[in-house]
Amino acid sequence: MIKAEQKPIDEILRSIDPYNKILLSGCGACVTVCHAGGEKEVGLLASALRMARKKIGKPLEVLEATAPRQCEPEFALEFSEMIEKVEAVVSLACGVGVQTLVRHFPKMPIFPGVNTTFLGETITHGLWEERCQACGNCILDKTGGICPISRCAKQLLNGPCGGSSKGKCEIKKEADCAWQLIYDRLNALGQLHKLEEIIPAKRWGVESRDSGLRRIIREDLKI
């Protein structure tokens, strides 16, 4: 799922400085799971913002609402009535949710309340790790289900590099070397022969972000 971290409160306060009434909109999906922008975080941040503004003698009115999924137009539009009553919106959804609101409410200033960070997995309570960079052409079948694009600092397709030491990465000592993990996994599966296949360079300019905005079109689903 998408992982995010809440922006520093002073940065949010600077964004909303000219406004006296805002909507703080949360999302019930990914950012709820990573405790960055769900209903609880909306409540906590709303109180913090009101208190901070009251302290400087500039009271702030904050409406609070959380949509099940802010990146879906049906749910984003549920904010319509509330948005008519406010001067600005701080969205605690990921960058997708923020832009969904922007598309549907073109005259309303909308600010992000979180930094969308990566596509990741929950390792344990309070610890999330990157697992996917949405590169557009999955190679997990060739690498034992471990992604070198998201987990190798150098994104090597045919690793490891010379910096792998005792199973750890030279760039980030606390991180496992992705290619060590790939070797161990293929070894456990009895598929070490897969390492002899050279994985060709990815076509970043065709499959990935380098060619500009990506789109998925399913004609059968269009109404």
């Binding site: 609880k40 109180s47 009101r50 901070a52 009251k54 302290k55």
Partner: protein, 135 residues
Amino acid sequence: MVDFDPKIIAFCCDQSGYPSLDMANSLRLNFPKNVEIVRVPCGGRIEAHHLLRALETGADGVILFICYEENCQFLRGNLRVKGRILYLHKILEKIGIEKERIEVCYLATNNGVKLIEALNRKAEELKRLGPNPCK
């Protein structure tokens, strides 16, 4: 010292804080003047936004009476709330509120005297800090 009776919200865990409160009542111990009790089934039920909302809506200070570590009926409720308090203290620092306004006090079932001592100490501390500027 500022002359005011600070309003304290005391969250009491059903397994430790609340029985201790009962005991303090039976012993007819003196409470500070302005204390409001919130009974909760476990310390782990208390979320960070409950505490901040208490400060926002009129409290000068908040105190949590919860079970000692390794003594939680629900195993880790007291540890969960401890983490939330640490997170909340960071938020309070960022918005310029003294983090001492929110405090945890660990109790056993029969700590009525300790509970009253903690409440009286908290009231004195809050008098020194002065009224909560954000309520």
